[in-house]
């Protein structure tokens, strides 16, 4: 069979699948794509409403989409409904509760399910906030599982309620109408206020009282709103963005209501009335205004929304998996066509991964690694790149398979690290240095990818040696050489990264090395690669020993990457993560099993028997 048609077919299929989200389609309903791209200021940066929606739903529910009446609702639709029609949204079962004690506090049992609606929880709000306030006073290290769970639930409930009050008061039935009434009263009310202030007696008492009623409502909105949605009428500075409440409060001073307040109120009204046409008309007008007044924010948010919709890392993950499966299939049948096709898929996955990485860098204006999530994305990217280089040099297929495996695994890890919501959050002062992010963080992460790729190649050597006769002849020689080469590469970057970290510490607080847990983790990787290489040079280990030690490198790297964060101490800790602990333990256990196989299963190795037969 000729390999070319198959590869081309796969390429065309995959490319079509990838470009699907880019096509825009006209529907009669509200233009969600246009709405999702609207910029707001949240947690210190301008982002599209879609990002806020995804992060919030992920935080509350643990997932980015919502199951409802037989179909799935996107995060954006959910958020729009929450703000436009809170009564309906309160019935959605979105609050995930795992902790049995918290369930008990709600009067529920585990058999009642894990997801609860706001309406179900609302009778217990007082009890929840009381318990949460109590837990807040306990110091972080001595908080129990219940304390953490109740604090977490309290926080999610608060975010949900703030979200409901972000564009209009949640209890308001017709906010755009109320705004019009406010606009009418604003002039007379201001006049009355100035007169009363200057001591005159003949002011319009009714108008002043009406203004006061609006004021208390706006005061509440300004406290409650979850993000700042109203762009400044003049200037581009992001500090000048206001939430709806603040903008309305200020309008009493200036006498002018920012048009964006009306636009959002009208859009929500139209959405509640299922009036797609007027929703789209208001949206289009608002977008046009933004394009001229806030061109940068609008463009940036639009691009970020496109990035959210295309999900490059998720798609890259699936492509890597497909490539891995195809390589494995190619070892059983049709080696050439399937092997070539797998390379095509891997390269395509790598291209998508690269595009995603570049988009992130462009959106953030920063080097690729800024937090734990992006470190996973970057570890995968470097490992795949390194794997492609190794494949070019060896041409045996094992490097393709393992880059697929490492790429897939790291992107899955990244996918699960989005738990905190926004993956492009702003950088804290001490980390805010593009120079050090670009040098220390990048080199140390490249070191991680090298260790993982070497460990993955070692899996091929051990498991392949045990169960197949493939680790033979040329492959039997090139595979250990690749492991060795990748280890050298990784030692170089781990070492450089570790020392650069020391220099960063010296630059920012005057000590080169402080035995901080994260520093120790990096040092362990360096020591272990040095150990392996010295053992190899001394002839104390040969191919199998190298493979076994490289697998243990996986354990050390994973512990240094994540385990250190779980100690909850030191400058580098990102907080405690229960789920990660389970995943990490499972990973370490699996690696120890492979090591055990590598050490003790030699009498059963099919590759060795094969070799003996040949001899």
């Amino acid at each position: 069979m000729n390999w070319k048609p198959l590869s081309w077919l796969l390429l065309v299929l995959a490319a079509t699948w990838l470009s699907l989200p880019l096509t825009s389609y006209k529907t009669k309903g509200p233009d969600l794509i246009g709405f999702g791209a609207l910029p707001v200021l949240h947690e210190g940066r301008i982002k599209p409403l879609d990002t806020v929606a995804r992060a919030t739903l992920l935080m509350i529910q643990g997932r980015q989409t919502l199951a409802a009446e037989g179909h799935r609702i996107s995060a954006l639709e959910w958020m729009l409904e929450t703000m436009a029609n809170p009564q309906k949204a309160d019935l959605r079962k979105i609050f995930r509760i795992d902790d049995p004690d918290v369930l008990g506090l709600m009067g529920k049992e585990p058999k009642d399910g894990k997801y609860f609606s706001f309406k179900t929880l609302s009778p217990r709000l007082a009890a929840i906030s009381e318990q949460a306030a109590h837990a807040e006073h306990i110091e972080v290290p001595s908080r129990s599982r219940f304390h953490r769970a109740i604090l977490n639930l309290g926080h999610r409930l608060m975010v949900y309620q703030r979200l409901k009050n972000s564009f209009q008061p949640a209890d308001s039935r017709n906010f755009s109408g109320e705004l019009k009434a406010y606009q009418k009263i604003l002039g007379p009310g201001r006049e009355a206020f100035h007169k009363a202030h200057s001591g005159a007696k003949d002011f319009d008492q009714e108008a002043l009282a009406a203004l006061g009623r609006f004021f208390s409502q706006f005061e509440f909105l300004s406290q409650a709103a979850y993000f700042r949605s109203i762009p400044p009428t003049q200037g581009q500075e992001i500090e000048k963005w206001q939430n709806v409440g603040d903008a309305l409060l200020e309008s009493a001073r200036t006498g002018e209501i920012p048009p964006a307040v009306f636009s959002y109120a009208e859009m929500l009204r139209a959405y509640e009335d299922s009036d797609g046409r007027s929703f789209n008309a208001v949206l289009a007008a608002y977008r046009n205004r933004l394009k001229s007044s806030q061109p940068q924010a609008a463009k940036r948010a639009g691009y970020e929304f496109l990035f959210n919709r295309t999900q490059p890392f998720y798609k890259g993950m699936l492509l890597y998996l497909a490539a891995l499966l195809l390589v494995c299939a190619s070892w059983l049948l049709w080696p050439v066509p399937l092997g070539r096709s797998s390379s095509v898929l891997l390269l395509l996955g790598f291209a998508v991964h690269t595009l995603g990485l570049l988009s992130r860098m462009f959106l953030e204006g920063r080097p690729p690694v800024t937090n734990l999530y992006s470190s996973a994305v970057f570890v995968g990217w470097t490992a795949v790149l390194l794997g492609i280089v190794v494949e070019r040099m060896t041409r045996r297929g094992f490097a393709i398979a393992m880059s697929g495996a490492v790429g897939f695994a790291t992107l899955i890890v990244a996918h699960h690290l989005t738990g905190s919501g926004d993956t492009m959050e702003v950088m804290r002062a001490v980390l805010d240095s593009n120079f050090w992010l670009a040098t220390h963080v990048i080199t140390i992460t490249i070191g991680y990818s090298g260790m993982f790729l070497a460990g993955a190649l070692a899996h091929v050597y051990i498991l392949g040696g045990l169960w197949t006769r493939a680790i033979n002849g040329d492959t039997g020689r090139t595979l250990p050489r690749s492991i060795y080469g990748v280890l050298c590469f990784s030692l170089f970057f781990s070492f450089l990264g570790t020392v650069l970290g020391g220099i960063w510490a010296d630059q920012s607080w005057g000590r080169f090395w402080g035995w901080d847990p994260k520093e120790n983790g990096a040092l362990l990787i360096v020591l272990w690669s040095a150990f392996i290489l010295h053992a190899r040079w001394g002839g104390y280990i040969r191919e199998r020993g190298l493979a076994v030690m490289a697998v243990f490198g996986n354990v050390i790297t994973a512990l240094s990457w994540f385990g250190v964060n779980m100690l909850g101490i030191g400058l580098h800790s990102y907080g405690f993560m229960d789920k990660t602990l389970i995943a990490l333990s499972a990973f370490v256990a699996s690696q120890l099993m492979v090591i055990a196989l590598g050490i003790w299963s030699v009498p059963m190795w099919r590759t060795l028997f094969h070799r003996m037969e040949v001899q």
Partner: protein
């Protein structure tokens, strides 16, 4: 003595392997025996010692990291890294007994091993130039850390906006301050204060800024705008100290460390470390060495394949 010598010389070869690591195992042990010292030397230079030390160091680093949860960073480092032996209490006695080699001992052994290995084994050639650079850099790195431990002095300067200071304080040490109070006769007031060190120059805090990301409490940057005055050197200029941008002046480095009093007080960490440049040198040396060595190996391992297709 004679018997020992005879033993040592009669079956010299087979006994070599029993002397690994400089530890005598048989009755042949004797200090006056030249062969014994040769064996010791070879043990010190051996790759097995390198591996043992690297392994021990890894164990120590893991223990030190885990112990930080209970002992704090400094306590754990003192117990596992900056000690010659890790000690533990002997049950039912007040004594501490060494149970494991400490970081200082292992590090020292590793250094001796490194020097010995170079003197004995590693040839002086271009092929090994990278390894020489790497190991020499390592030597510098460890030496730098050792010197930092001995020579560096950490102190603080807590300065309020508008205030001018010409001294730094060591929070860990105190001194007595005597001041004359007004009154009949001579009365002195004694006070305990952190130990001060006078500087030949003065620093005035003109402005401290604490930037936050809009709409959040997440800190974006801290910086102190100061006026540096050194009358003897005719210096009088503004300096901005911010996160990751210390001021290095007269052998001292001033880092933005903390703040207080509603953002009107700035705390600067002041470090005097004459050895601060050593890690930078070591880093360059080791990186270049590794790069050189690995590229050399890579080109050597890919060459034959180019010839044979």
């Amino acid at each position: 003595m004679k018997r020992a010598k005879r033993h040592g010389s009669s079956n010299l070869q087979p006994d070599f392997c029993r002397y690994i690591g400089g530890v005598a195992t048989g009755p042949q042990f004797h200090f006056a025996n030249v062969q014994f010292w040769i064996v010791c030397w070879r043990g010190l230079a051996s790759l097995k010692l390198t591996l043992a030390c690297l392994g021990l160091l890894m164990v120590l680093v893991v223990l030190c990291t885990l112990a930080q949860v209970h002992l704090g960073t400094l306590g754990a480092v003192d117990r596992y890294i900056r000690s010659f032996f890790v000690t533990a209490p002997l049950p039912w006695t007040p004594w501490q007994v060494p149970v494991f080699p400490g970081g200082a001992l292992v590090g020292l052994l590793l250094l001796v091993n490194l020097v010995a290995a170079h003197a004995q084994r590693l040839e002086l050639s271009w092929r090994k130039a990278g390894m020489w650079a790497v190991h020499f850099g390592l030597l510098l790195l460890v030496l730098g850390e050792f010197m930092t431990g001995l020579l560096s002095v950490e102190s603080q300067m807590a300065i309020e906006e508008g205030q001018t200071l010409n001294y730094i304080e060591s929070p860990g040490q105190v001194e007595l301050e005597a001041s004359e109070t007004t009154g009949i006769g001579r009365t002195y007031q004694l006070a305990v204060r952190p130990k001060r060190r006078l500087l030949p120059f003065s620093i005035t805090l003109k402005d401290f800024t604490h930037e936050r990301y809009p709409g959040t409490e997440i800190p974006k940057n801290f910086s102190s705008l100061i006026r540096l005055k050194h009358p003897e050197k005719n210096e009088d200029r503004d300096v901005l100290i911010s996160m990751n941008n210390p001021l290095r002046y007269e052998g001292l480095a001033f880092y933005q460390a903390s703040f207080g009093k509603e953002d009107t007080l700035s705390v600067l960490q002041v470090v005097q470390n004459p050895a601060w440049l050593l890690p930078y040198l070591a880093c360059v040396l080791i990186s270049l060495g590794l790069l050189f060595h690995f590229l050399l190996r890579l080109s050597a391992s890919t060459k034959p394949r180019r010839v044979v297709p």
